[in-house]
Amino acid sequence: MIEYAIRHSEKWVKALLEHLEMLVATMIISVILAAILTMAAMSSKIISKMLVHVFSVIYSIPSLALFAIMIPVTGLGKGTAIIVLIIYNQYLLLRNFITGLNEIDPSIVEAATGIGMSNIQVLFQVRLPLSIKTLFTGIRLAVVSTIGMATIAAFINAGGLGSILFDGLRTMNVHKILWGSLLSAGLAIGANALLLQIEKKIYKFKLD
């Protein structure tokens, strides 16, 4: 098995890099989009409820089905995969972002407003720094979920670690199946552990 990995190192390194590329592109766009949607959500309770509801419905669609639905629209390949992954992430990110920003002690928000901060100033100078931990949790969950779903994206020719796994399944090659699963699972577990360590270092402010 080790021997197999060494012999085909070029192949799985390429797949791993493809996987990471999809992850990074997805996460950057997801966070920017979620930040914009969160700003809209903070401006009105109705928009907030609507957005979370819409994305929760989409989130409940199985990923393979959503990948398939998108093929006629945006075709096969990495682009389609990234679009779908971004859409899935919005639910995880939005829910955490909105909860985080709203869980601030109301008396702190009242004081901030009362002494003359505008809504934008309250958002960026008070709500955001105080909810950073919850925001980061959302990003961690989205990273782990993206790594997992990106594996399935190999079905629509997006490449990545899923392609090794599916190759193995098609040709009944045990080595490929094992390495495909190990690498994708390892990446998800590793990323989660790393981000959890960072998250623990973020101090959660509380007023006694």
Binding site: D105, I108, A112, T113, L207
Partner: protein, 256 residues
């Protein structure tokens, strides 16, 4: 007669269409330099009345003027920056140091750094905290009484002409509360500001106020100097308030 700092003209507020008035057609004038305490039980409308002044709540009817200017014609953020605001829960920003908390409004107004720094030291000394010792601490490292002193310093930062205080000492123990009351009187005396102080403690209201406004069910029962109120209570509610306070005194004397 001095300038009218705060003027209410037939102001009403209710929270739902069908509900009762929380503040019921109130008209009043408060002059510059007065220390007015608003006394009432919970639900009397005293906090609502206060929060309409800095536009945290908007009245349904009537007009409110500050120094002759109708506040609905001014951007609420600008109105608030001209008014000091202190609340019972203090609401210090836990992610900022004491100095940063006090400096928040001057920073929003883009004062320069040295001016802000001098002002912070000045304010910390004013509220009785040693600047060198407290500047770089965080709110969680302070006692409740010290936190409220910082809340007071933050509200005074830009030298506002009007200060609104919403039960600021409500959560502070009796000994510290007496100290803070005395300091507040000293600060008011030295600054010639208009203070509006909400409380449900009759002793606090009569001790601090140059005039006391007694509220019940959204209306002002009586608005007069402490000695006038004690001599001529306007209605049964005011009489019963004074009676209950006297009863308590008698209780203490009985223990002696």
């Amino acid at each position: 007669m001095s300038l009218t700092a705060i003027e209410f003209n037939n102001v009403s507020k209710k929270y739902s269409q069908s509900g009762d008035y929380v503040v019921d057609h109130v008209s009043l004038s408060i002059y510059e330099g007065e220390f007015v305490t608003i006394l009432g039980s919970s639900g009397s409308g005293k906090t609502t009345l206060l929060k309409m002044i800095n536009r945290l709540y908007e009245p349904n009817e009537g007009t409110i003027k500050l120094f002759g200017e109708d506040i609905t014609t001014v951007d609420p953020v600008k109105v608030r920056r001209r008014i000091g605001y202190v609340i019972q829960q203090v609401g210090l920003f836990p992610h900022m140091t004491i100095a940063q908390n006090v400096a928040i409004v001057p920073k929003l107004l883009k004062w320069n750094k040295s001016k802000i720094s001098t002002r912070v030291d000045e304010l910390l000394s004013l509220v009785g905290l040693e600047p060198q010792e407290f500047r770089n601490r965080y709110p969680s490292q302070l006692s409740g009484g010290q936190q409220q002193r910082i809340g007071l310093a933050r509200a005074l930062a830009t030298d506002p002409k009007i200060m609104l205080l919403d039960e600021p000492f409500g959560a502070i123990d009796a000994i510290n509360r007496l100290n803070l009351q005395d300091e507040l009187l000293r600060i008011h005396g030295g600054l010639k500001k208009t203070f509006l102080f909400v409380t449900h403690d009759i002793n606090e209201a009569f001790k601090l106020g140059t005039r006391v406004m007694i509220m019940n069910k959204g209306r002002i029962c009586q608005f007069d100097t402490p000695s006038h109120i004690v001599k001529n209570p306007a209605d049964d509610f005011v009489s019963s308030l004074i009676y209950s306070s006297r009863e308590q005194e008698r209780f203490w004397e009985g223990l002696d």
